[in-house]
Amino acid sequence: MTLRTRIAVTFLLLLAAVLAAALGAVSAANRGNAEREVNRQLDVGASVFSRLLESNRRQLTQAAQAVAADFGFREAVATRDTETLVSVLENSGARIGAALVVLTSLDGDVIAASGLNIQAGTPFPAAPMKRRSTVDDSGITVMVDDGRIYQLVTVPVRSPLPVAWIAMAFELDQKAARELADITGLAVTLSVNSGGRWSDAVSTIPAPAERRSDVVSRRIDVSKWGNAEVVAILSRSLAEARAPFERLTRVLFLIAAVSLLATGVAAFWLARNITRPLQDLTRAVDRMRGGAYDVPLDLQRPDELGVLADGLQLMQTAVQTRDRFIRQLAYQDTLTGVMNRTAFSEALDRALAQSAGLPIAVAVINLERFRRINEHLGYSVGDAVLTKMAARLAAVPSVNSAVARLAADQFAAFARLPDSGNLLHWGTSLVLALADPVFVEAQPIDITATLGLAQSGAGRASSDELMRCADLALDRARREKRALAVYEEALQPAARDQLSLLGELRRAVERDELRMFFQPKIELKTGRVAGAEVLLRWQHPERGLLGPAHFIPFAEQTGFIRRLTRWTLDHAIAQGAAWHRAGQALCLAVNISADDIGDMRLDARLASLLTRHQLPPALLTLEVTESGFIDDPVRALRMLEAIAALGVSLSIDDFGTGYSSLSHLARMPVHELKIDRSFVQGLEADPESAPVVRAAIDMGHGLGLKVIAEGIESEEAALRLRNFGCDVAQGYLYSEPLPLHAFEAWMLGRERVPVIAVPVDFKIENLVETSNLALY
């Protein structure tokens, strides 16, 4: 039920209850009132009736006494002058309107009569008096004659003693009844009992048919005298008495109905007046919830709803302000005022959606060495630099404020290019805009900005893609120490879908897709093959032969390296044992990762493999990078010692790139050092690396270790290394890593054709030492 209906219905029910109670009370009171009123009226009527009779009696008595006292009349009585008597009687009767006047003897015989047709000398039918009867003057005497009712008064005629009676009477006729009815407001009926049967002699009730059943009546005995038993019946119809009250009740009902209707209309109007603005407000609030804060909320009302609307208006404004602020926080960089990454992405996405095929260029800009500004000049200066840089970027016309600060010292900008050829031009304009020194507190600060550029096109339809490409370009620029670089497909990392790689690797082990490649190690002094390093290749069914760079780092990250190592060890030891059995004792080196060192059962497994394949432990070398014993040196040391105890040689791989301490190195149970290829390759180009290599070789020897150099691609490098005293060399100069059969073939050829290696930088003055040259 709506508020409007509820309000209206509540009001109506309340009013209806009140009205019903009031009407009920009034009509109950009216019913009682009518009956009381009728009864009271009957009391009054009875009283009036008896007073009327009494008044009649007095009037009759006076008139009769006046006649009786008249001397002449008495004389006429004495002389029985009948005609005179009749005239006197007529005269006196006419004076008061008596219906009849009768003179009788003391014995009741008519002497003379007026108004009654009766013979003189006959007994007066209703004469109550006898000669010696007692006459009670206060009694009301009633005579019934010929259906007519008379109220009769009899007085004696004295001369001076009673000699006759005068009876004088009013007729209680229709007129008298009507008068009484008019005075009392009651229906008057006079009823006579004749022979046990009552009949109405006079009645003001028009016709018996109209007599109602709901009549309240009062019987008054007028006369109980033998042959004139008369009663007066005063009556009143209750319905008639109730009529005014019923009229009143009807009027009240009408008023109730009208007021109910009026109240209903008023309540609905009022409720609507309340609920319509409420609905308006609800709609407004709904729109506000949808983010529209421009909803007009002024109801222009002076009442509470107006106040509510004003309050909502204020709230709307406040919410709008906060919303704007939150949006700023969410989308704006608070320091520089430019967009943040989120806002930039959205803006870029919008621009891409609206680009209509025109290229969108994105630049990711890095402020080089910005940390140093913060560290040396303070954060306030750094902040000022960032703000000024942001402002400069935003001021570039083509950028059109599409600038964001992505990270502490990284900005981004995008622009619509007129055509794809302008990317570099645009990037250059940005570089130029940022090139000038920034002045903070009148102090010039040089900032080098590096840009990575990318532009929308195939595969770069989203802001994410585009920015990632720009990032790659930036990486390249920074790597190559250039001011800017443009994204190229080549910058994409090779293996993008590394998630599936793990599954493929498992399959590779199961389906035997892994291959062992062997790269020979040459003893520099003798030129003999000192051994071979076992290198893994993956014969991928789709991608062909993959080098270790494609899967070893991934295997190390995922922990799958242990599985690979087990496989390699198993196969390498088996191959080593096979060669050993064939009389070719070749020392094989297998790479062990740091994770393998953490494998507690590595020594046991090694022992088991060596035993199983019957390979002398001295023919196996495990190459471990320095990182292998950085994580947990104590545990690594224990494992290395256990392995060394088996008789297996240990070699430190990529020596020189890690940061392991020399004291550590001294305690390691290793047998050889393997100098990183970066040092060896620098030997030719970088004269400064020679002493490093030499020092490393000397140090290894000082520690009692055999020293190996890898990555040897030239005779010159080989010669130098040999001069430095390096024990073993490995590299493309001798052989690339070879599959098993190629390696075996290479070994055979090697044994048959000794090669004299002549260093490339061989000089005449060095010829003296040529005799020392080793045969390869």
């Binding site: 006292a69 001397f71 004389e75 009585v77 004495a78 003391l106 001076p160 003693l161 009673p162």
Partner: protein, 209 residues
């Protein structure tokens, strides 16, 4: 009644004596009481001689009006008697009679009446005052000289010559009493009479003719 029979029987015995001693007078006393024995005053006792015609004669009588009352209340007179109606009150009276025996009116007057009224016919005359309804008096007019009126002791005495008489008794408030024959002899005669008196009777008792 039994007493009355005794009386009658006694009277019969006297009649014998009367014949023996004629022309002798005898004292006759009539005592009137109610049946309850109370003495009745103002009862008129009338003896009509049956054997002889009484000598004619008339008298004079007075009915005064004192304190709005006729005094006396009852008189018996011989026919032809003139009655005067002096007025001893200081107010006026108008004496009248509608009785057939004598109708007259004495117009309003005060003091001694100048005229007298001659009652010339036997019968009962009821007197009234026209202006004072309560006033009433009774005049019995008879043709015999032998009559009387009981005293307050209820008796009346007179001398009657011996002979036969018709005795009439009348009282204003008594029912009519039948006349009876009385024989008066030489000796004194006492006649007791019982009558019914109804003091509340509205109408006057009929006059015994």
């Amino acid at each position: 009644m039994t007493r009355l029979h005794h009386c009658v029987r006694g009277a019969a015995a006297l009649l014998v004596l009367l014949f023996a001693q004629s022309a002798l007078a005898a004292a006759v006393t009539v005592a009137v009481t109610t049946r309850a024995g109370a003495e009745v005053q103002d009862a008129a006792i009338i003896f009509d001689p049956l054997d002889a015609t009484p000598p004619p004669g008339h008298d004079k009588a007075i009915i005064d009006q004192v304190n709005k009352t006729f005094v006396p209340h009852v008189i018996v007179i011989r026919t032809g008697t003139a009655v005067t109606f002096p007025n001893s009150d200081r107010i006026r009276h108008e004496v009248y009679s509608f009785s057939p025996a004598k109708m007259f009116t004495l117009k309003l007057y005060a003091g001694p009446s100048k005229t007298s009224v001659i009652f010339d016919k036997p019968g009962l005359v009821v007197l009234g005052c026209n202006i004072h309804d309560k006033m009433s008096a009774f005049v019995g007019v008879v043709d015999t000289p032998y009559f009387g009126k009981t005293t307050s002791a209820g008796v009346v005495s007179m001398d009657l010559p011996a002979g036969r008489y018709r005795l009439r008794v009348w009282h204003p408030n008594a029912a009519a009493i039948a006349a009876q024959q009385i024989v008066v002899a030489a000796g004194p005669l006492s006649i007791p009479l019982k009558i019914d008196v109804d003091s509340a009777a509205a109408a006057v008792a009929a006059w015994p003719e």
